[in-house]
Each structure stands twice: as structure tokens, then as C-alpha cells.
Amino acid sequence: MAAPGPQPQTGDAAYRGIVRPLLLPTWAVIGILMVLPVALMAVYSFLTKEFRGGVEWDFTLAAYDQFFVTRGLFGDEPPQIEWTYISIFWRSIWQAALATLLCLLIGFPTAWFIATRPAKTRGIWLFLITIPYWVNLLIRTVSLRFLLRDQGPLNEGLIDLGLISEPLQIINTNLAVQLGLFYSYLPFMVLPIYAAVERYNFALSEAAADLYASRWATLREIVLPVVKPGIIAGCILVFVPSLGAFLAPDLLGGAKTFMIGSLIDEQFKGSQGNWPFGAAVAMILMSLVLIVLLLYARAQTRGAR
């Protein structure tokens, strides 16, 4: 029975007795939703593909071999580097980087605009930004396809205005994929930058102007460095999901815009799939992202010193 008495102290028996059990749900969530799936994927990537999908419990490096190495069409030539998948990765990185840049160019001024409105109206602007995201991503991407297609409102409108005579080929191009990624992930850029700009002390800009800095110099020397953490957070939040995106490339792009997400997606669909290979591609993608994040974190800690 709990009688009134001294408060439990961190680190003693009471801590072990009370706080640890309370932390259990957290550990359960992390374990079941994060560690377990990744571990499962890691294990699958070393298993053998079963005909018609699924796996056999036979450990092998075949999936990674398929990704990196080619031995010719019939498997009898000397091993060479397989460029097919690496180039898909390369293209995906480019697409994701471009989408990130586009989000940054539009997202930064947007975030700045919202953060500099009177406190009362900021909430409304933020709400407007997030409204479209109440709708499922698949539906939004399909709608975008509808808007951009040859007989869609965009092309018909331009033709009606007499600006063009033939419909613009937007759908099934890199541009459409870019627009799709941009549209999908823009709020992930706006929100962290907004949070940083909102905390920005505008007296710093006045101090800079007082010390002979032009507007441009103030932006470059003071504003950008101070809100940099927000910008970087936004870039990571857009770049990482863009890299693995499959809805936008699938629905808006054509065969030439094949991205990692679609490659992985394909491996787990139907009888054509290859689960271990899909898992291996996912593991390689994840390693790549982790390496980028680690490099960034190291650069940060070194910069702080």
C-alpha cells in the first residue's frame, strides 16, 4: 500500500520498480514497429528466393550479388559490375535531390512569409498548407495525373487560351515526377523552416543592417546560418522519402523515370517478385541514407566545436 512518505529517487529501487515498467510501452513500440521489421528485412535479404514469391530458409548472398555483379546473359562470363541497379539508384538520388531543391526554393519563402505574419493569422496559414494532406497520398497523386495529362485541365486550359496548339507532354516525364515529389513533400520542408524562422530574433537583422549589411548580406551572413538547422531538417525530411518514393514515379512517370521505390515495390508484387532481392535493395537504400545522416551528424558536431 502506498503510504505518504519520501518521494522515489532516480536510480534507486523505486526507479527500477516504477519508471522501468512505465517505459515498457515505448520500448514495445520501438521494438515492434522499428527494430523488428528492419531486422526481418535484413534477414530476408540473405535468404533464397522461392518461385512465385516468398522465401526459402537457405542463407545466400545471391540478392546482393544480383544487385552489384553481372556475369552476362547466361551467367557464364567473368563477373563485372552490374550498372542497371546502380544507375537506378543514381537517377533516384538525382530526382530526390532536385525535388529537395525545388521544395527548398519554394518552401523557404513560404515558411518565411508565414512566420512573419501576425501571430494571430499564422495558424490559419499553416492550416492552409496542411489541408491537402488530409487526403490520402495515392488519391492526390492520381489527381495530379488527371490534372497533368494531355486532355487534362492544364493542357486544355492552355490550348483554350491560345498559348499552345498541341498538348504539352508533361505526364510520364521527369518533370511530372518532380512535380509529384514536390507536391507530396512540400510541407515537410515548410514546417521545420517555419519553426526555425519563427524562433529567429529579428533584432539580429536590425543589428546586421545597423552594421552596414545590405539585405542580401544579412540573409547570407545572419539569417541563413541561424535558421540552418531548420533548413537541414527540412531537406532531410524531403530527400529521404523522395529517394524511396514509388507512388509519384509509378503514377506520373514513365518507364524512363524508374526509381528505387518502384524497383522495391516490384519485387514484392505478384509472381514476378523476388523478396530477397527487394529486401537487399531496401537494405542498400537504408544504408545509404544512414551514411548520409551520419556524415551530416559528424559535420555538425565538428562544426559546433
Binding site: N201, A203, L204, E206, A207, A208, A209, D210, L211, Y212, A213, S214, A217, E221, I222, P225, V226
Partner: protein, 355 residues
Amino acid sequence: MNRQMSTAVDIRDAVKTYGQVTALQGVSLNIADNEFFTLLGPSGCGKTTLLRLIAGFEEITAGQILLFGQDIARLEPNHRPVNTVFQNYALFPHMSVLDNVAFGLKMKGVDLPSRQKRAGQVLEMVHLSQFADRLPAQLSGGQQQRVALARALAPEPKVLLLDEPLSALDLKLRQAMRVELKQLQEDTGITFIFVTHDQEEALTMSDRIAVMSNGTVQQIGTARDIYEAPVNRFVADFIGETNLLQVDVEANSEDIAIVILPGGHRITCPSASSKTGKHHLSIRPERVTIADTGNLSATVDRVVYLGTDLQVIAHLDDSQTVTIRLQNAARTAPPALGQRISLQLEEGAARLLAD
């Protein structure tokens, strides 16, 4: 003090309104080159607004500001030869102390070796050389304040604006910084426009003081002028301690008046107005003495021991309160509670105020 009498800042009928709020209503000031000029007034009286107009962060609603004879209305802040020490310092958090101090020079296009040398010198001036590589967040409040000062001084502005720079420091540091700031101003010959709500700060440092209230200037003068010859009740009350006695003015010229004190004694005193009738007389507590036959009679209510001084609070027969300060060194015994005493107003120390 060798003050060149050329004008550094000439403010003519400056008006500033924010929507419905009038922050400044027709302020005119003439600040001389090399002067330590203080804007003194209670919070909300428009001091910061006036500084921001001079620095260029706000647009003037009406009136003019001339800097060395040139109208600066159209100059952006970064083109005004004026630097500011901000109230909350506004140090650049991502830059070292040295880079903060060198920033103004960098923006002026001074090359790296020269600006680092100059920044180093200024840091030495404010005794911060050993902190050059630290970030602002790694400094104490007092040190940050010095960095802000060094940063504003480094580009050698013609006018330095200081917005309550000492208000966030503790008392000891504040007192030390007063002396240092004054010394710095004399050494550099830069015109200082110093904002404070602390009258002691204003009195100890300034060549001249403008006392402000409600967006207007009440009085401009040296510390002595303002303390000893306040023009109205606001100034008399705001600067130091004073007794405001209601008196009958019998005769009044521009600067001398004959007044009848409560109790009927008649005195002649300096005057800030030319009106007759019921007005206020200001007399400082230390200029009232207990005498055998004075010109006021009172009853002692309270005696407060203040260390160097004794404060005696008494009431007159018409129930107005009078405060007296006696030096503790005086050999006479302090008056007892309830004792009837006779008070003497020091000749020429009382002053008739305009309201």
C-alpha cells in the same frame, strides 16, 4: 571638457505614430558632436522609438532628423554612420566574439587582416581579449554587454546609440560600467546617445540630459540644471527625491516669485513660470534643515536610519507631508516622534514649478 559645439544630431519636431498610438509627439533635440547625451524617462515614454528613428529602423511620421546637417530620412540603416548597442545585445549567436566585433568592418569592405586587428584592439579596450574565440552563449551577461559595445564601436561610428545597455546587469557591474562607458566616450570622442530609465545613471554620466514623458521632452539640461532647477512637477518628481508643497503665489515674474508657505511665511524663490495662484514648490529633502526659528512648522511622524543619512518624515499643520534628510554625522540628537519642529528651507533652494 572640450566640447566642440558643432551639431551631430538635430531632431526637429519628430512625430512617430503606430496606428492609434502616438509614441513621439513633436520632439526637438540638438545633440552636439562629442557629447554624452542621455534620454531619460519612464518606460513607454518613447526613448527607444527615438533611437530607432535615428538608427533608421522606423520611419518618421512627421518632422526631420539631420545628421551632421544632412537629412537622413531617405537613408537605409546600413547607410547611416550610426551604430547601436541593443537593449538585449542582439549578438550573432553563430559567430565568435571576434567575428561579431569584426562584422561591421567586414560589411564595410575592410580586408581580413585589418579588420581582425581592429576588432582585437576594440576587444582589448573592453577587456575581452581572452574571450575572442568564444561564442556569445558562452559568455556572462556583463561580457555579452561588452561584446555588444565593442561590436558597435569597431566601425568607428560618428554617433553611438545605446538603448538601456546596463539595465540587465547587476548593481556592482552597472556602477563599474558607468565609469567605463563615460571614459570610453571621452577617449573615443564619439557622440553617445544613451537611453535609460535610471536617473542615477543619467546624472552620473551625461553631459546633458533630456527628460522625456509621454512622447515629449520635458526638460533639457545638465545634470545640475535638471536636479536643481526642474521646470515642472514631472521632472522634479522623476529626478531624485523631492518635496512638492502647495503654496500661494503672491507675485511672479519670469524667474523670481514671492510665495506664501503653509503657515503664512513669505519667501522669495526662483520660478519656472509667471503665473500666480496655487502652485507647487519643489524643495529637495537635503535642502531642508531643522532650525530654532524656521519658516515652516511640522510634527515628526517617522525617523528612518539610512546609514550615512537620517530621513525624517513630518507633516505640516495643513497635513502636507515633508521629507527631510539630515547627515548622520551631525552631532545633534534626532528629533523624537510626535515632536513639534521648525523647518528652514535653504535660501534659494526651493523652486516654484510650472505644472
